[in-house]
Amino acid sequence: MTGLLSVKDLRVEYLTDTTPFVAVRDVSFDIADNEVLGLAGESGCGKSTIAFAAMRLQKPPAFISRGTIHFDGQDVLSMPVRDLRRWRWSECAMVFQSAMNSLNPVMTIFAQFHDMLSAHQNISRSAARARAADMLEMVGIAPDRLDSFPHQLSGGMRQRVVLALALTLRPRLLIMDEPTTALDVVVQREILQELVSLKEKLGFSVLFITHDLALMAQVSDRIAVMLRGEIVEIGTTEKVVTSPQHPYTRDLWAAMPILDAPVHEAPHAG
C-alpha cells in the first residue's frame, strides 16, 4: 500500500425514487505524504461527493456502495464511530466549499477555536486561547481578532480563519473543496501563496478540488480530471497542462478564459 490516502474502486450512490444515481463510479486514487492532488471537473461531476466520502461525511440519501478508503493503512470505512470522530480533523481536516460561510455567525472566532479544541483535547481556556492566537498569526491575522464575529471580517480574512481552524490540530491531510471560488483574484492568490508556505512549514498533503484548471495547476503536483463520476485522466501537473490526453481535459482547457497575450513587466511571485 502506498500513500497517505488510498481510495480504491469507490462508488457513491444517491438513493432516488427509482434507481439509485451513481455519483462516483469506481474511482481510485492515492495521495502521498506532502503531495497536492488536484481534482478538477465541472459542477455535478462528483468532486464534492468524493471529498465528503473521503471523510465519511456523506449523508443519506448518499451512500458508499463499494470500494475502500485507507488512511495511513487504517480502513476508514470500517472505523468505529468513536475513532472516526477522533480521526476527523486531527488527521484529516476539510475546508468546505464557500468556506467564507462555514463559520458560525453567532460565535466569536475564539469560541469556534475553543469548540473544536475542546472536542479533541483536554485543554484549558487560556491554553486554547494561546493556541488560537498562534494559529491566527500563522495565517497573517492579528490575534486581537479572536473576539470578532465572522461578519466583522472580510471574505479573505474569514477564509484564512477557516484555514487556521483546519490546520490547528496539525492534520496530515487537508481536503479543500473550492476554497477560493468566491474571492477575487488578488485575495485568492494571497491565500494560495499562504497555503503553499504553510504546507512547506507544517508538512501536510492536500486534496485540492476546484473547477479552475489554471488555478489548480499553480499548486498541484498531480491533477485528476473527473467527468460524470469517473476519473478520465490523472497525471502530473506538467503532463495535464502541456499534453492533456483525454478529449474532455482538452475541452476544459479550451473553455478557460485565459488571457491571450503575455504582458511585460507584470509582477509575479516567481
Binding site: 465541472e42 503553499v196 495547476a217 497542462v241 473553455a255 485565459i258 504582458v263 507584470a266 509582477p267 509575479h268
Partner: protein, 299 residues
C-alpha cells in the same frame, strides 16, 4: 453611425454612506469618489475591481437604488432623476451575480418570462415573443419553458435572467458578476451570449467583474476601480495588455497562470499587495493620458 450621446454617463459621481451603529460614533464611508465614466450606445464597459471597491455601488446608483451624494448620472443625455421611473426602469435592467437566488424557485421559466412580456410588449403574440426570447439567449424552447429554476444549470439560469431583461426591451444591461458563480467551463459561453446580445440587438452592457481576464471577451473599454476611485481606464486591449497603474498590474499578475507554479517562502507577492493597496487608497489628484483614450490615475 449612431448619435454621439452616450447611453449612460457618470459625471463626477460621489457617494458617501453614513453608518450609524447602535453603539459607538457614526462614521462616513466614501464608497465612490469623483467617478466620471461613459458608455457609448451599443458598446460595453467592464468595471473591474476587488470586493468593496465600489463597482456594485455604481451599478446600483445607475439603477436608482440610491441617489448620488454629488454628481449627475445621465441617460442619453438626460439626468436620470428627471426621467419617469417606469420608462427608465424598463430601459435599464440588472442581471445579478447569483443565478439561483434571482429566480423564483416556485415558478417555471414560462412564468418568469411571460409576465414581463405581457406587461411590456402587450401587442405581440405572447407565445411567439416567448419563443423569440428563448432563441435570443440560446435556450431550447421545448426543453426549458416548463422547467423550474432548480431543474436548470447555473448557466441556463443566467440565460433566463438575460431573457427576462430582454423581455422588457432593456437598452442597457448592468451585469453584476454574472459569471462568478458559474463553473469556469461555462463562463465563456455566458460571456459569448453577452457578446452576441450586444452585437445582434445593439445592447449596451456594463459588465461588473473582479476577473480582468474575462473583460477582453466582451468589453471594448475597461475601467479599473480601487477604494471607490477609478485608477485606470481605456480600451480593454491597452488596459489589460499594457497595464500602467500598479493595482492593474497586480490584478493582471494574480490571474491564475498554469505556467507559473506557486513556491513557498516568497512573500514578495504579499508585500507587493500591501504596498499597492496603500498607494491606491490615497486620493487621485488627476488622470494622465498614456495612450489613445487610455488614462491612468495620479496619486
Amino acid at each position: 453611425m449612431q448619435d454621439n450621446i452616450p447611453i449612460i454617463a457618470l459625471e463626477n459621481l460621489s457617494k458617501t454612506f453614513e453608518i450609524k451603529p447602535v453603539f459607538g460614533a457614526r462614521r462616513q464611508v466614501h464608497a465612490l469618489r469623483n467617478i466620471s465614466l461613459d458608455i457609448p450606445a451599443g458598446r460595453s464597459l467592464a468595471l473591474v475591481g476587488e470586493s468593496g471597491s465600489g463597482k456594485s455601488t455604481i451599478g446600483r446608483m445607475i439603477l436608482r437604488h440610491y441617489p448620488p451624494s454629488s454628481g449627475v448620472i445621465r441617460f442619453r443625455g438626460q439626468d436620470i432623476t428627471t426621467i419617469d421611473r417606469r420608462i427608465y426602469g424598463r430601459s435599464v435592467q440588472m442581471v445579478f451575480q447569483d443565478p439561483f437566488a434571482a429566480l423564483n424557485p416556485a415558478h417555471r421559466v414560462r412564468h418568469h418570462l411571460m409576465r414581463p412580456l405581457l406587461l411590456h410588449q402587450p401587442d405581440r403574440d405572447p407565445d411567439e415573443a416567448l419563443r423569440a426570447l428563448l432563441r435570443a439567449v440560446d435556450l431550447d424552447h421545448a426543453r426549458t419553458v416548463d422547467k423550474y429554476p432548480h431543474e436548470l444549470s447555473g448557466g441556463q439560469r443566467q440565460r433566463v435572467n438575460f431573457a427576462r431583461a430582454l423581455a422588457v426591451n432593456a437598452r442597457l444591461i448592468i451585469a453584476d458578476e454574472p459569471t462568478s458563480m458559474l463553473d469556469v467551463s461555462i463562463r465563456k459561453s455566458v460571456l459569448g451570449l453577452m457578446r452576441d446580445l450586444k452585437k445582434e440587438m445593439g445592447l449596451s452592457i456594463l459588465y461588473i467583474t473582479h476577473d480582468i481576464a474575462t473583460a477582453q471577451y466582451l468589453a471594448e473599454d475597461t475601467a479599473v476601480m480601487f477604494g471607490g476611485q477609478i485608477v485606470e481606464r481605456g480600451p480593454t486591449g491597452d488596459v489589460v495588455g499594457n497595464p500602467q497603474h500598479p493595482y492593474t498590474r497586480l490584478l493582471r499578475a494574480a490571474i491564475p497562470d498554469p505556467a507559473i507554479r506557486l513556491r513557498p517562502g516568497t512573500d514578495s507577492f504579499a508585500r507587493q499587495v500591501e504596498e499597492v493597496r496603500r498607494l491606491a487608497t490615497t486620493a487621485v489628484i488627476g488622470m494622465s493620458v498614456v495612450g489613445s483614450g487610455h488614462l491612468v490615475a495620479e496619486h
